[in-house]
């Protein structure tokens, strides 16, 4: 008997989604918290050189969960897109909304047309004058795009993290408090302490002139964590 060559599109999409989800669950999660000072991005990352969080443009940052090689490629393509747009038009014309849409199109296209879907989930955030103007976009492996308010999480434990943040978050949160909140969420979902050396933290500082992105150094993180504990 000949093997059936027909697989229903529904089945195919389901298989691909399951495959992608499995890959993403293996990786650690990332949190973004919008507060008084700006948008804080926190990831658990034992590597100090292979980053999950990065600057894209003056007010825009990127975070990727899942397979490093894949979101790194997306990150670089995003920087190229942003720099090209800023060069051809003006710096103000580069927005997270348009970048998130391009990401969504690209990832969605790969999901439906390629054999292997991308095992990634990404976050594109833009800092505004105040928390009400902050924009947080979450794009998943199939290109689905979601617009979040105040805080967002991506990666395997995203739902647990969101649940943790839901009640404890408020818009006026300070930098220290948002770090405590993010680390608390990561620890609660992993059920263990997270060491300061294993954290990757960056901020889009709304009060900083020009480029708003700043990465915390290892020494700064250890200091901050000690300050939080005492």
């Amino acid at each position: 008997m000949a093997l059936p060559f027909y697989v229903s599109p529904e089945q195919m999409m389901q298989d691909k989604a399951e495959y992608a989800r499995k890959g993403i669950t293996k990786g650690k999660s990332i949190i973004a918290v919008a507060g008084k000072q700006g948008i804080l991005l926190v990831a658990e990352n034992p590597s100090s050189s292979l980053n999950k969080i990065s600057e894209i443009y003056d007010r825009i940052a990127f975070a990727g969960a899942g397979k490093y090689s894949e979101f790194e490629n997306l990150r670089k393509a995003g920087i190229r897109y942003a720099d090209l747009k800023g060069y051809a038009y003006g710096r103000e014309d580069v927005t997270a909304k348009s970048l998130a849409n391009v990401y969504s199109q690209t990832i969605g296209n790969i999901f439906s047309q390629e054999m292997k879907p991308l095992e990634v989930e990404i976050l594109v955030v833009e800092v505004g004058e105040s928390t009400t103007q902050d924009e947080l976009y979450r794009i998943s492996f199939d290109g689905a795009i979601g617009d979040e308010r105040g805080h967002a999480a991506i990666g395997g434990q995203a739902d647990e993290l969101k649940e943790y943040l839901k009640d404890k978050y408020d818009e006026e949160v300070t930098l220290e408090a948002s770090l405590t909140l993010a680390v608390g969420a990561l620890e609660a979902s992993a059920n263990q302490k997270v060491r300061a050396q294993n954290l990757e933290v960056a901020i889009l500082d709304r009060h900083h002139p020009g480029r708003k992105f700043r990465r915390f150094t290892a020494a700064e993180l250890v200091d901050l964590a000690e300050g939080l504990e005492s």
Binding site: E55, L74, A77, I79, D83, L84, Y87, Y103, Q105
Partner: protein, 263 residues
């Protein structure tokens, strides 16, 4: 629109050349003759000099079209990134384009690679960009930058000058270029001392620029009537700082007063 995931380079300039050439100026095929085209905005004096702890880079503010003044407030000194700056002499259009392209280039590389280029790396990249402009330079559209940076590894300021072919030469003390560059260099040659501090460096630079403005019609001195003064940036361990216009005005007034007295 989809993102291009196939490109792998880290240079913005190369990205434009390979994938988006329409964003770069390519006038190679055209024949220019100075008599046939309307004069393009040119003329300038830009200079840089080292002092204890850093470098200053200075430019006048005037652009000329032939014998006409086309702009009085043009900027010729640009912050390239947090620790380097460029000053450009030549035809205004391509100069401004080069400055913007170079700024984007440095930032692009830093974001993609996660580290900044070395001071020497930046200087070499700028040389390649000047070289790209060489066919245009042959037709009269000359662009000549001065690059200054603070080298953290060696804890000193650096000055690089360029020729139209993209040749890159490091200067040990000071340099000036543009239509009044020779006059400015002559003044600095007489006044320069390596041990001077920032204040003395600003003074020397403004003296040099004033002398250039006296001899060269393409260069403007301080304009006390309109309140237009040369742009000065300092490059030190603290990064790039714009010298306040009030300070430039005060030093300029003092200098002119001294000249009047000694005349």
């Amino acid at each position: 629109m989809f993102l291009d995931l196939s490109y792998t380079g880290s240079s913005f300039c190369d990205l434009l050349t390979e994938r988006f050439p329409f964003l770069l100026t390519k006038w190679e095929g055209l024949q220019f003759s100075p008599n046939e085209i309307t004069p393009l905005p040119t003329g300038t004096t830009v200079l840089a000099l080292k002092y204890q702890g850093g470098v200053i880079v200075v430019g006048d503010r005037q652009a000329t079209e032939g014998t006409m003044i086309s702009a009085r407030r043009i900027e010729k000194v640009f912050k390239a990134d947090e620790r380097s700056a460029i000053a450009i002499a030549g035809v205004a259009g391509p100069c401004l384009e080069l400055a913007r392209l170079f700024q984007t280039e440095l930032q692009h590389y830093e974001k993609l690679e996660g580290v900044e280029l070395s001071t020497e790396g930046k200087a070499n990249k700028l040389g390649q960009m000047v070289k790209m402009n060489f066919p245009m330079a042959l037709q009269g559209l000359v662009v000549i930058p001065i690059f200054v940076g603070y080298d953290f590894k060696r804890a000193e300021g650096k000055i690089y000058k360029y020729d139209v072919t993209g040749g890159r030469y490091e200067e040990a003390e000071y340099y000036a270029t543009g239509s009044g560059g020779g006059h400015a260099r002559a003044t600095m040659k007489k006044r320069y001392r390596p041990e001077i501090d920032e204040e003395a460096a600003i003074h020397t630079a403004l003296e040099a620029l004033y002398d250039a403005a006296e001899e060269d019609i393409g260069t403007a001195g301080p304009d006390f009537v309109r309140g237009i003064f040369p742009t000065i940036k300092t490059v030190t361990v603290r990064g790039i700082v714009d010298v306040e216009e009030t300070q430039v005005r005060a030093v300029s007034e003092n200098m002119v007063e001294n000249r009047r007295r000694n005349h």
